[in-house]
Symmetry: D3
Subunit: 315 residues, 6 copies
């Protein structure tokens, strides 16, 4: 076990102390030897309502100090099996969304030149489009598990074709994802017409609206998705607003009637066995939850995603 990076234990150094990396992992200065790379994409200029997600990575890292290495519920011991580090933030251009997306794509191309699995902390959801471009360039079209209150399949917003609300239409059009292996979970709320959701169904997207999930446990649904995906490379993109605002108040475009954290955990835990090639957790907006609890939730979900990565063993 000693061969892999370990989070600093709360019994060795007070939790409110030490490095501000994810789970107080070592700050990695290169990708060499890493199986998993946590990174921040601090950006909010792709968002349409409340801003603030530019501080998401900072607060997620801060709250992740509460996490310990072993998953008491599933037995997963991810730091026994994988070498993980925090590679810091991508150097986005906070004045230009277009330019930032370009930087993200290029950065991901570099990250993906090796064999590391990137785990991104957003930032608004627009970051996922350039990530998927780089992912698809390496792996071809991937299956996509997309947990969100929103389908994010607008054609444009104010004439802009690349924003946090258009990501998955672009991904579909550009062939970055396998349409009929794309799962949109937790979508809900108000829109402009049934077409807002059904058009994507026409492309093959499989949708699981929140109201069909209320009061249900998500083990089985997760298992069906897992079977349906099979051995394909899969990317998981987790918008924190998929959760009900009771569980995640600190986000930019909250929608009532969302998932619970038990459902979120059931869903992620059901992904064990998939060929996951990357993950992100987006849309945490610290100014709207200064308690840090939304970021704590995000940190937990990132950790749980790490626990189902290929190669993670239980003990």
């Amino acid at each position: 076990m000693a061969e892999f990076n370990q989070p600093i234990s709360g019994n060795d150094l007070a939790r409110f102390s030490g490095p501000s990396t994810f789970m107080r992992l070592p700050q990695a200065t290169s990708l060499e030897g890493l199986d998993v790379a946590f990174l921040g994409v601090p950006m909010d200029i792709g968002t349409s309502w409340r801003s603030g997600t530019r501080f998401g990575p900072k607060q997620i890292r801060s709250e992740s100090a509460m996490l310990r290495p072993y998953n008491m519920a599933t037995g997963a011991a991810p730091f026994d099996s994988l070498n993980a580090g925090d590679i810091g933030d991508l150097a986005i251009n906070t004045f230009s969304l277009k330019e930032s997306l370009r930087i993200i794509e290029e950065s991901y191309q570099a990250i993906l030149s090796g064999s590391v699995i990137p785990m991104a902390m957003g930032g608004d959801h627009s970051i996922t489009l350039p990530i998927l471009r780089a992912i698809a360039a390496k792996y071809g079209p991937v299956a996509l598990v997309h947990v969100d209150a929103h389908a994010d399949v607008n054609d444009d917003m104010f004439g802009e074709r690349e924003t946090h609300g258009t990501v998955f239409r672009r991904a579909y059009e550009e062939g970055l994802i396998v349409a009929d292996k794309t799962y949109q979970i937790g979508i809900r709320g108000t829109g402009y017409g049934a077409n807002d959701f059904t058009e994507a169904q026409g492309w093959g997207f499989q949708q699981f609206p929140a109201q069909e999930l209320w009061g249900r446990q998500l083990h089985n649904m997760g298992a069906e998705i897992r079977r349906d995906i099979g051995a394909r490379p899969v990317y998981i993109t987790y918008d924190i607003d998929s959760l009900d605002p009771a569980y995640a108040p600190g986000t930019g475009t909250p929608e009532i009637g969302g998932l619970t954290t038990p459902q979120a955990l059931e869903l992620i835990r059901a992904m064990k066995g998939l060929n996951i090639v990357g993950c992100d957790l987006v849309e945490v907006s610290p100014p709207y939850d200064t308690s840090g609890n939304t970021a704590l939730t995000a940190a937990n979900l990132l950790y749980e995603m790490m626990c189902v990565l290929p190669g993670v063993k239980s003990r």
Copy 2:
């Protein structure tokens, strides 16, 4: 569709911009041509614990900018079927509860002189008594769907007979409501004796205490209420504190163990088909939830109530 007022789209004008009306509907200067009138009753002097609901209408309108016109879950397209506007606030007297109640009643008499359905944003729950007086003057005693943590059937508070805790005893005594078509949903918490609830049962009120609803879906219960009411005119009064404080922290007299937002949505959606003659959403207290999420929830519930008004078609 172009013949009816439409909310400004978030794709036409940034959501954090534009008029501060409900859903950024046009500010109506008269009731002429309106089927639905949203209005504010900014008041908190009828409340017994935390104040602040005087800012409720302002924050609900502000957060309603997130709403889009079409209901993705039910297919309702209320703005296709009904002409809606925001008629602004009633000009209450913030120094006198008695006088304010008189103003509200008179204002409602004027509003109800036409055929518009009023949708009020409170304000504390004391506003519902004068509203019901005006409603009953027009429609006779109405069925009442009352969603609340509290039965609000005290005889008096500090000797005052008209406060946010005495509304439905007065409504019963004055014959404003049909007692056995009055449904109190979500009531719970502590009291002074069983009589606090059972006396009203004796009048005919049908009560659905929160603890009997925990973990249940409310479709069926809602359907039974709908059948029981039949074709009678019905008024819906929605106290945000019916929700659990996890879902609606920004309120004046919170009680733990409340409804969830999925339950709230199931309940309202089950009201489709009723002859609803008016609605209110009360007790949002902005100083106790500066994130705006409680107000966002309130805005959603008002929108969902609009979606089940008579004449609203789906597409």
Copy 3:
């Protein structure tokens, strides 16, 4: 009824007014004649992450002004049956955890010299160790209902053997509790190995991890625990972080995926009939929930625990 202390009614004195005692009960200056003593243990120096629980008792008392004497759901009328008072705060030494624990133990020895049942408002969870020492000195080893996100069975933290994370290992080692009548409910999250939980199972502790309780009602589980305990003296220690952070954001070491308040109420209500000899409610940290709602929840849970004390009658 007049013979026992009564909370001041919200109809007699505005809720935001009057004494800052628990439920605005009389401030007791001696234990004489009391059946139940509410007390504060304002302390946060035993906590490992966020501090602030030193203000817990103050905020719990403040929010308890919302509570009325009668339990609408269960019919319990605790103030008809038991004479209760608020005996104020223990005079801990805020600069020394060791010394504070000594003071708490000695204070409890004095309190327990009579027949009063102490109901403590914490403070961090480290206060429960000296309480149990005094309890066991009087009653011998007690059954323990321990509701918490954490098992609190570390051997030490930074070499210290008495902190909020080591309480129940010490209690076990010192024979303060009956190991196989110890119930840990709601535990979850991350740890260092399966052993973090299973070692205590080896001692006989019965554990009910949160993920096994998700979506379940807890009546039956509570009833089984009640039967299993039988007539033994039992102590209830309630860590507010057992609740999901959606329900109790204001705490020091939150863990996602926790209990709901309905579950908390079901659990406590199922304890009726047990020989409860003391209770505490710990880990409310006001700076992390300035709305007061976490403290309100805590106040309710303390009240509900009072409602199941021996001798409490219903009406």
Copy 4:
């Protein structure tokens, strides 16, 4: 010294502990033997903009735990010279401003039947009118030191003649105060015409607009006022909004360009030697400053006013 009530020392009982009385003085159950009575008037229904002052007394008392008995700057030792206690809150009727004002007046008549000096914690400024009625009934017209951003001399608001904005016109009309010994300090902001201030000058009021005080020390001005008042009975009414919002953000009708706390202290300290017969500190609204610092300021100003009461000796 031991003969008089003393605040609990922070070295005897942790500051975050103990009774919630002003400065943790004994809760007085009668006026007997008291020279000074602190009391709360928890009310906000007389306010015109932000509410929340109903929680003012609670938060001022809470923050007053920071205060120690001796004034390091002036040497005043008020608890050596005067017997002080906290007599709790007046039992106002939160649903009726008129009725509350009546209650306040009657309560003050009772309080003033002895020789105690009442020190009131508001509450909105409307409480000062009934206080002055009772004061004048006992002492005849009094000199008035009125520190405020507002002159509070409106004739009516929404037709109401008794609100927080009409207090001193009523006091003038009713002959409760000596007009040319009335000093309005810190007034500023926007109005409806010069007359808003000048009419009161015509009655004899001496006004000290804030902009004439900017950057000045207030010793001399205070001394002039003191000389001008001479031996007359004088009442001090201190509206926290006289301070700049930087110093006192937690208030209902803030106005920029206000006094600093050094100026406030200089002003109060210059009152030493006057025949002060009562004081109040009003308009602290806790929801708008959850840090507690505005209330801490208020507690300090009340303490400083106590330090200049007749009979207070220095050491």
Copy 5:
């Protein structure tokens, strides 16, 4: 007086009620007949640190409800002399800074086609560049009173030449302002070299660093600037971060050691007599001051700027 638009009086309609326009002026649907147009430019994508200024106009308007029409300190009665309205928000593109700046410029060209004086509520400071372009197109190079913690004369930020930190270098280069009639007041803090300020001095800018203003009254300095400008058209751009964070905490790039609100008022009041052709108030970020006091300050400063517009008479 009746001929001009008037703010709704707080004595006619409760302040927490009514339209959300600036000072509750009428919402103008055209510029016709207006002398002064208040407008919002809700934008934060030009900012480099904390975001949130997109909600600035909404909160400034909300807090402006506290303002009354007459300036008690100066006697100015701006609504007697000028017809003012709120023309709403510019429809910026929240995903593109470049595009938004283009929209602002075009919108201002339209606004300036008549004779109205625009008073903009930001938004981050990048909005001032397109405003100055339109202003200069109409008036030629203008004198500029620039109150700010920052000189905003960077050459670029991340390669972008149009951000909130480069505005006045661009304005200088493009000849939009008269360099030696440009006054930068309140600049301070840290930088990269003396050149950060001195280069602009070389262009002719007159700089008044904050530390030279500490403890001074600004009447005389203001008067000198006024004389120096003479009859030229002048634009005033007011960055709220010129104020000390004690006075204006809700801003994106706060710097300690700033101006006080008395200084701000003295400065603006000294501008009376200038040929002011436009004003803006920028950088209010509501998420960082939920009390609303920063926005209240901003609303006051906008009002005070209106009070010194050409043609405003006193009474």
Copy 6:
């Protein structure tokens, strides 16, 4: 210049991005080659009122990202002259004040074994006692510039002799400081007797109570202190509560009537030329100022102290 560590420029990497070190300096893994070491001492168990300073270092570092390397007011360019790094946090024991003080002393002994100047971010003020022990062990008794609202010269608190309120009595008794070269600046508030301050004057301490500094500029006072100290080694300990709560609300034991930030800057800037051997900035409590502005102030003051260290040149 390239030979020394430089803060990351906000023009190279967005300020909300990158390492969470002080000013985004390199994280130093050894002291080798460092002239200045910033470090955190995250602790709050030595505080007597509000806790939360354990998160002080984290928030100060976070807000320090706003700082640029050059001092615009003084011309100091500290990173041209000195090699600075952030050496992380001391590994205190959060459950034992005594043990933590021991750890701090030992850590400082190690740090001081070389020639680095330590700049500590607290933490409560109790950290300064072990720091001074290590400082005196190296340098002998030092001159002390102590800026604080409190003299911190209690003999004990609850019998404990080492807390945040007893530091400078212990330092005096132990001969760690030169008594007549000890300057206490900004002290004020309430106490138990004149002796609270005068006893220390008897030891030789030179005290500058806040009320004597109100409205004054502190250049000259600073210069006198500098001359009085001469060439002696001097330690600067800066308690953020020396500032008025308007300027630094986020602290544990606030006192009204404090210093302004201009005064703080004048004072520190006057220290240029002294033989400063170490500095600390203590008592920032993030939960009481979630805006971050108090921490921003702290970061600025630390930077300003660095600017007056021996060897710092201007340009």
